[in-house]
Structure formats: C-alpha cells, structure tokens
C-alpha cells in the first residue's frame, strides 16, 4: 500500500513575516494515494491556496517535509523542481492561464516540448486526442484568446494531462465558471480518476463541488480540522 502514496506532506508550516509574523500553515500533514479524488476546502484566508503552491513545489519557503512519489523534494534545485513539475504535476488554475500567442493545440503541447520525450508529431496526436476526449477538438486550431471560459478551462485540463502526470492539482477550477460548465469540469475530473487512475487534488470553496469528491480535507486557520 505504501507504494501507492503519491503525495505526502509531513508537518508543513509556513509563515509570512511581512509586516508581522502570521502563521499561515501550522503542522499540516496528510497523504494522498493514487487514484484519489480529494478536495481541500476552507474559508478565504485559511491557507488552502498557500498549501497548494507548496505542494506544487513552486513555493519553497516553508518548513516540514514534502514527498512526491516517495521522493523528498527538499534540497532540489530550481531546475530539478521545474523538471518535477513538468513531469509529475499537472495544473489547472482558476484563471485559465493559456498563452494567448498560441493555438489551443500548441498550448496543450507546450509542457510536452519541455519534457522532450515524444516527437512533435506524437505530441500533436496526443494533444489532439485529449482535446477530443474533452469534446473540444474543433477548437484545436483556434487561438487561445478566441475561446470561452469553459473551453479555456478544458484546454487547460488537456494541458495538465499531456505529460501523463502522477497528480493533477487544481486551484478553484470552477471559480470562474457557471454551474453548467462547472459540472462538465467536475465530470471530466471524475472520469480522469476513474478511467485514467489519476490523483486529483482540488482546492475550492465551492462546497457543492467538494461534497461530490471522494475525500474532503478541511483547513481552518492553517490547520487541518477535518479529513
């Protein structure tokens, strides 16, 4: 069972020092296993976004231990962290954050360029397949800024999938979407866990959304108060 743990946080603490010391996260520990569909909820300011950025390896200013795929990410260089993010973590953000200079297809392919494991043709094929799974293959050659919010979010999900990551992290993925699109996104995530056996960690304050997930981690004032 131990090998199934994808992500493990051990007593993570973080505090801001400006202007006065504020403890944002206090002794946060939990484990996430393969195929789990978990959500982190909490009120605004409870530290849930901060936790996500630490878990995503982008924020390295914390104390405690973080294991990704049973490997500690402490003492990894900026370059190694970037490589870990590229290979093992997929991201979906609240604001869709596509690169407006590229087509939807190119946006999906970008992390693949960095990973540089597949040829461009294979990558393009994979990207197209993901877009097809998400029902937006018709938009593949449209520029990113021409897409609607829901469409952008689906492109972002396809981008998160392109390098076949261990875990997909989402920051308020439905925050900017209407309920119809939010349902679509939820169902896509559910399918990802069930069909592709992906691990999903979603930060949200949308309780309806969270209640539908398998596991809810509740943060309050920097501590886990419910799991």
């Amino acid at each position: 069972m131990e090998n199934n743990v994808v992500l493990e946080a051990r007593s993570i603490c973080k505090s801001f020092h400006d202007p006065v010391r504020i403890d944002v996260l206090k002794d946060v520990s939990f484990k996430l296993s393969r195929g789990e569909y978990a959500s982190i909820i909490g009120r605004s300011g409870s530290g849930k976004s901060t936790l996500l950025y630490i878990l995503s390896t982008m924020d390295t200013d914390y104390t405690g231990e973080l294991f990704l795929d049973n490997v500690s990410i402490r003492s990894k260089s900026e370059k190694q962290l970037a490589a870990i993010r590229n290979e093992k973590i997929g991201f979906v953000f609240q604001f869709h954050y596509l690169l407006n200079e590229f087509t939807a297809l190119k946006n999906v392919m970008l992390p693949g360029f960095k990973l540089n494991k597949l040829s461009e043709a294979e990558l393009e094929h994979n990207a197209y397949e993901f877009l097809k799974d998400l029902g937006i293959e018709k938009l593949a050659h449209k520029m990113a800024y021409q897409l609607s919010g829901g469409e952008k979010q689906r492109v972002a999900i396809a981008r998160a999938m392109i390098n076949d990551p261990l875990i997909i992290m989402c920051d308020e993925p439905t925050g900017n979407l209407d309920s119809k699109n939010a349902d679509i996104v939820f169902n896509i995530f559910k399918e990802l866990t069930e069909t592709f056996n992906k691990t999903l960690l979603v930060v949200t304050h949308d309780l309806d959304f969270a209640e539908k997930t398998e596991r809810i981690i509740e943060l309050d004032d920097g501590r886990i108060v419910g799991d």
Binding site: K79, A82, I84, R85, E87, I89, N100, F102, L110, L115
Partner: protein, 419 residues
C-alpha cells in the same frame, strides 16, 4: 528543451509585440548603418588629408643640413680638455648642400630590400622675371619617372603632360599661383634669374597644383639637368635623396641607420609630420566614440522594450514556469528575442551602412586643392563592418541579458496568487 521550441515561443512573443520589436530592430539598424558610414567617411577623409601631405613626403630624406659644426676649435684644444666652454653666436660652416657620392648612395639604396624606391631632388632659389618685377621662386629639380612612381606626381600636374619635362630641354611646370601672377599659358616662355645672377629662358609645359596656395605661388618643377644648369652645377650635383620605404613604420630606425652609415643628415616622415598622425588618430577616436554611443543607445532601446515585454507577459512567464519550464529556459527565450532583434537589425544595418556609404561616395565634391578628387571619399574597410556587427551583438546580448535574468526570476506564485 529543443532550440526549435525555444525559438517558437520567442517568435510568438515577438509577433505579439511586433511593432515594438520592429522599432528596436530599426534602432540597431540605424546605429550600425551610421556607425559604418560615419567611420568609413571619416577614415576616407583622413586618408585624403594625410595623402595630401604624406603621399608626397618621402619616408626618409637624406640631405646636408646647415648647422654649426658640432666640434668647435676649442674642443680640439688639449689644454682646455677638462673645462666647460660657452660660445655665443656660433655660425654655421660653409658646408656645401651637395651630397657627396650621391649616385653611389642611390645605387646602394636601390639594392636595399626595405626600400621601395629612391628619387633624387635639387632645389634652386630663383626669381621669376616679370618685366620690372622679380618674384621669389623655388625650382624643384626632379627625376620625373621616379617622382611619378613614388609620389604620384601626375596627380598634381594640371594641364600639359608631365613627361615632356624630360623630353623638352629647358622646360618648366609652373606652380598654379605663380602662373596666374605671370599670366603664363602653356607654350609660353618665361625668364628666371638664378641667385648667381644668370638668366634662363624656360618653356612652360604645364601647371602644378599642390592644394596649398602659398606653395603654388612659389614652387615650380623642372628636370634635374635643367635645374643643375640654373644652379651652374655639374650633372652629379644632388642636394636631396628622397626614399620611400615598403614599411612606413620602419622610417625612424632606417633614418638613423642611413644617417650613420652615409654620414649625412636623415629625417624620417614621423618626425617631419608628427601633427598629421595626431590629427588622424584624434579624428578616428571621435568617430569611434560617436559610433559606439549610437550602438549603446540602441542597446538601451532593446533593454526598454524587453523590460516592457516582460511586464506585459508576466502571466505567460508564470504559466511557463508552473508547467515546468525552468528559469534557465525562460532566460533562453528572452535572450533569443533580444539576439534575434540584434542579428536582424545588424544584418539590415550592415546593408544600409554599405548603401549609405555608396550614396556619400557619389556626392560630388570638388576642391581646387585636390584636382583628382571628384566625390566625397569613403573607406570601405571590412574592419568597420566587423566591429559594428560584433559590437551590436555584444550590446544586444547585454541589453537582453538583464531583462532575461529578471524574467527567469519571476516567482510564478506571486503572479498566479495576485490575480
């Protein structure tokens, strides 16, 4: 990360801001074009001005200087050997201006590997007779063939054929100024009086224009034998030996060597014309300074535009980093942008610089002092093109490096949270 994909991302970012990118590239193009044409023009002018004097100046000149004897009678006295002496108002000895064994010296010099050519010369003080008026004049006796070969004599002879000087006996090429005063035309006979008082009739076969009016009023040219006749000297009388060397930089050393070897006074071109070297180098320094300033200014242009681009594309940088692009990759992307601007601008600049040089080269430029020059002088030296290209690439790299480093340090968390 393949280079192809870095350039693809860089290209897309540039395309998104193509107007600013174009402006930055045009800045580089302008500065390079002006750098090249400015330096080419300046160097062309330098060569022209230096050529006015230096081309006509021998690299080493052998002559007998009129100087007081270095050994005064008292120095020979045994009695006062250990005493100091002061002699006031020392007069030069009655030295002859003639060079002893001139022909042997010329033969010896002609065999020297380092010597390009040797031309003998005599100067004769005369009066041009103009009715009752006598004008001061100097007749240079020259060997026309050597003079043409070493000092481009024909460039300064206007009207007439300089070769006739050797063919027609008692012929003269009059200085332009002197000819105007005398109202002499080609074919006229003029009279000159030597310092000994003898009169000679000489046929005018051409005019000489050096570009320096004071010289043209006084100096004329005649054949060696004609001048010897005016001076009343024998045919082996030579007062000056002009030497042109293969390497002008050897002149001071060789002047010393010849001076000691032939026991004669020798003057090198560097000593005789020190001011021209200084003038040329100062002009070059000024034009380099202006040109390099232009390039640095264009570097600031690139710096500004890249900085702006980075602020505008913070989201893009953040997302690239979040999806696994390392700081180094982001840096490469922005350096690629900067270097593409630099290379494209530099190539266009080299072309425009060359075209601008061609344009300047075609502008008519007539000056009485330089009869052979009809357009502005331009130097097309490859060194200006390479300096401009290298310097442009260096400035664009530096101008790109600072913003690129900034971009590579963007913290994606700050940007993504900040929304």
């Amino acid at each position: 990360m393949k280079v192809k994909h870095i350039t693809e991302i860089a290209g897309a970012l540039m395309l998104a801001r193509w107007k600013q990118t174009l402006v930055a590239a045009i800045g580089v193009t302008f500065s390079i074009a002006f750098f090249i044409s400015l330096l080419g023009f300046m160097e062309g002018l330098n060569e022209l001005l230096d050529g006015m004097v230096l081309n006509r100046t021998p690299h080493v000149r052998l002559y007998n200087d009129i100087l007081p004897s270095k050994l005064q009678p008292i120095d020979l006295s045994k009695e006062y050997k250990n005493h100091h002496n002061f002699i006031s108002s020392v007069k030069p000895t009655n030295t002859r201006k003639e060079i002893y064994n001139a022909q042997q010296i010329i033969n010896k010099l002609n065999k020297d590997e380092r010597v390009l050519g040797v031309a003998p010369k005599i100067t004769a003080q005369v009066f041009y007779n103009l009715g009752n008026i006598d004008l001061n004049g100097i007749i240079n006796g020259v060997d026309t063939e050597q003079e043409e070969k070493l000092f481009s004599f024909s460039d300064y002879v206007i009207g007439g054929n300089y070769k006739e000087l050797k063919i027609i006996p008692n012929s003269i090429i009059l200085g332009k100024g002197a000819a105007e005063i005398m109202m002499a035309k080609i074919g006229d006979i003029i009279t000159v009086t030597s310092t000994e008082g003898e009169q000679f009739s000489l046929k005018v076969i051409g005019f000489f224009q050096s570009g320096i009016a004071e010289i043209d009023k006084v100096q004329s040219y005649a054949n060696l034998s004609t001048t010897q006749k005016i001076l009343g000297e024998s045919s082996n009388y030579i007062s000056d030996i002009q030497i042109k060397l293969k390497d002008i930089d050897q002149a001071p050393a060789l002047a010393r060597e010849y001076g000691n070897f032939f026991k004669i006074d020798a003057e090198d071109i560097q000593t005789a014309n020190a001011q021209f070297e200084t003038g040329s180098s100062v002009r070059s320094i000024i034009s380099y300074a202006v040109g390099i300033t232009l390039l640095i200014v264009s570097g600031f242009g690139i710096y500004n535009i890249l900085n702006m681009l980075i602020y505008e594309k913070m989201d893009t940088i953040a997302i690239l980093k979040a999806t696994g692009f390392a700081g180094a990759d982001v840096k490469k992307i922005f350096l690629t942008i900067s270097m593409s601007i630099g290379i494209a601008g530099a190539l266009a600049g080299l072309l425009f610089g060359f075209l601008l040089s061609l344009v300047i080269d075609a502008i008519p430029f007539h000056t009485t002092s330089l009869p052979t020059v009809t357009t502005y002088p331009i130097n097309y030296g490859i060194q200006y093109y390479s300096i401009a290209a290298i310097f442009a690439l260096a400035t664009t790299y530096l101008a790109g490096w600072l913003p690129a480093r900034k971009a590579s340090k963007v913290d994606p968390v700050l940007i993504i949270r900040g929304k």
